[in-house]
């Protein structure tokens, strides 16, 4: 059960990435970013058709699914996973979204800055352990 999670900013560059477990180990780790980037097009299309933030599975790559969540400020949270777990993933996204808003409240943090705070990383992994 491994996952690859990334937060993509408004200019389509990754703000934060985390590999939980060891996804795509055979095909090469560099594919994570490529797959998520390709899925961004689908996210851009779907996000205008629904007022929901959680977009469920937007793309499929071999055996892996890509799920997406869009925040109010168009910051995309994307998860690469191999098992379907809609409720768990939705809860995961909601909690990480709340964590992101708390980071935003820091007046020294600008939108689209990379997040490299180890406390943030630790909290994301704790949330992942709880829901995924």
């Amino acid at each position: 059960m491994s996952y690859y999670f990334a937060i993509v900013g408004t200019r389509d560059s990754p703000i934060y990435e985390a590999a939980i477990g060891n996804p795509l180990k055979d095909d090469g780790k560099h594919l994570h970013q490529f797959v998520l980037h390709a899925a961004l097009d689908f996210v851009d299309d779907i996000m205008w058709t629904t007022p929901n933030m959680y977009l469920r599975v937007v793309d499929k790559f071999n055996d892996w699914f890509v799920s997406a969540f869009v925040s109010a400020g168009n910051v995309r949270f994307m998860l690469l996973h191999d098992s379907k777990n809609e409720d768990g993933i939705r809860n995961f996204f909601t909690d990480v979204h709340e964590l992101y808003i708390k980071s935003l409240m820091n007046p020294f943090y600008e939108v689209n800055d990379p997040i490299d705070n180890p406390a943030f990383d630790l909290k994301v992994r704790t949330i992942a352990r709880r829901f995924l």
């Binding site: 007022p51 400020g73 168009n74 979204h97 709340e98 409240m105 939108v111």
Partner: protein
């Protein structure tokens, strides 16, 4: 709901305007600076208010986004919804939000040689950031439009980019 002392805010805002005035030459620059400060506030306010008031729903339609600003944002900032939201009859992509007595303008007195200035540019910056963030890029400015009984009525003029109107039309036709 948290309350902040009005005099503390008025003092802080007047210091903000004075600080900006030292670094600029001219009214346009001053308004642009206030707009920039408001922009940073708006980026954070957008995520926070949508999270608090709407849970997991975002605004996909232009009118809903404007209504959200009109009621929720104004209520969170000033304790009451804005006085009016109008669509311009001449241009399809222009909307106006008006407030008879903006808190930020109440304690700022404008000298006669700067009568074009409206410090509501700060609020215009907040609105612009919220629209930009939700995917409706626009140019937002603040103007003083006196009306009988309200000499300091401020109108926030919102002009949307062409691609926003295109997308709205496309989504409405589908």
């Amino acid at each position: 709901m948290d309350q902040v002392s009005l005099s503390a805010f008025a003092f802080l805002f007047s210091e903000l305007v004075q600080y900006s005035q030292k670094h600029v030459k001219g009214i346009q620059d001053l308004e642009k600076r206030l707009n920039l400060v408001g922009y940073r506030v708006g980026q954070r306010l957008l995520e926070l208010l949508v999270f608090r008031d709407r849970g997991s729903k975002r605004d996909v339609k232009l009118l809903n986004a404007l209504l959200f600003i009109n009621t929720n944002v104004w209520k969170a900032l000033f304790g009451k919804p804005a006085d009016s939201l109008e669509k311009s009859s001449e241009h399809d992509d222009e909307y106006m939000i008006s407030d008879n007595d903006l808190v930020v303008n109440r304690y700022i007195s404008i000298p006669k040689e700067m009568s074009q200035l409206n410090t509501g540019a700060f609020i215009a910056g907040i609105v612009e950031a919220m629209l930009d963030g939700s995917g409706f890029p626009a140019r937002v400015t603040a103007h003083t439009v006196p009306v009988a009984g309200f000499p300091f009525r401020t109108t926030i003029l919102i002009k949307f980019d062409a691609k926003v109107m295109d997308r709205e039309k496309r989504l409405a036709d589908k």
